[in-house]
């Protein structure tokens, strides 16, 4: 994803798109495809990094930064926060809805 393009999206659009990668990761997890799951999470982390680097959100980073930490925890298989991909999908899917609401 091109940084310039990404940083033209609203926060809701950015998080909605990240949610799409999490949905993919969960899909591959259900299929038992470990590699595809990992790649989807990596893409989500890359996009979330772009969100965190987006200067427009510099005063609103607490939650995206926490999401990044949780996703890294899920990726590493540590389960420190007792958060599964389903929960992350539930957290992010409303953003996808909100992003498309006025389209």
């Amino acid at each position: 994803m091109d940084k310039e393009h990404w940083q033209k999206l609203s926060l809701v659009e950015q998080l909605g798109n990240i949610g799409a990668e999490i949905s993919r990761a969960r899909h591959w997890e259900e299929k038992g495809d470990v590699e595809s799951r990992a790649k989807a999470i990596e893409r989500a982390l890359d996009l979330l990094s772009l969100t965190i680097a987006d200067k427009r959100w510099r005063l609103r980073l607490k939650e995206p930064a926490r999401l990044y930490e949780i996703l890294c925890d899920v990726f590493a298989g540590k389960n420190t926060y007792n958060v599964r991909l389903q929960m992350l999908e539930n957290y992010l899917s409303p953003f996808a809805f909100a992003a498309r609401r006025d389209k």
Partner: protein
């Protein structure tokens, strides 16, 4: 949509309208269980939390929830928010784990939102 601090009871219809303006079926809220007020609306729980902190709330008393105004009252509140992960207070999950705390939050929301 602007984040609103609710100090007195508001109509359920008002919450439905807020939900329609953002996530459709749900509105995010942060409840101050000590002051018995809540901040409603916004895209992130952390945004509503920041509003209450500016209003002199203390972080240890703030908990994030999602309100589904179209659901029956018993199912209306979901106790999940990233800001709830607070190991120092014994909550190691996005879900609020303490049953008594959930009840406290339910009471505050019942006080502030019409049936």
């Amino acid at each position: 949509m602007a984040i609103q601090i609710v100090r007195e009871k508001i109509a359920l219809g008002a919450v439905k309208k807020m939900a329609q303006e953002t996530f459709g079926d749900m509105v995010k809220a942060v409840v101050d269980v000590e002051r018995e007020v809540m901040a409603v609306g916004g895209e992130l729980h952390a945004d509503a939390e920041a509003v209450l902190l500016s209003d002199d709330s203390r972080q240890q008393n703030l908990w994030g929830i999602n309100i589904y105004p179209e659901k029956p009252q018993a199912e209306r509140i979901e106790f999940s928010a990233l800001i709830n992960i607070r190991p120092s207070q014994g909550n190691r999950s996005a879900q609020i784990q303490d049953v008594k705390l959930r009840e406290q939050i339910r009471r505050v929301v019942s006080k502030l939102v019409g049936a």
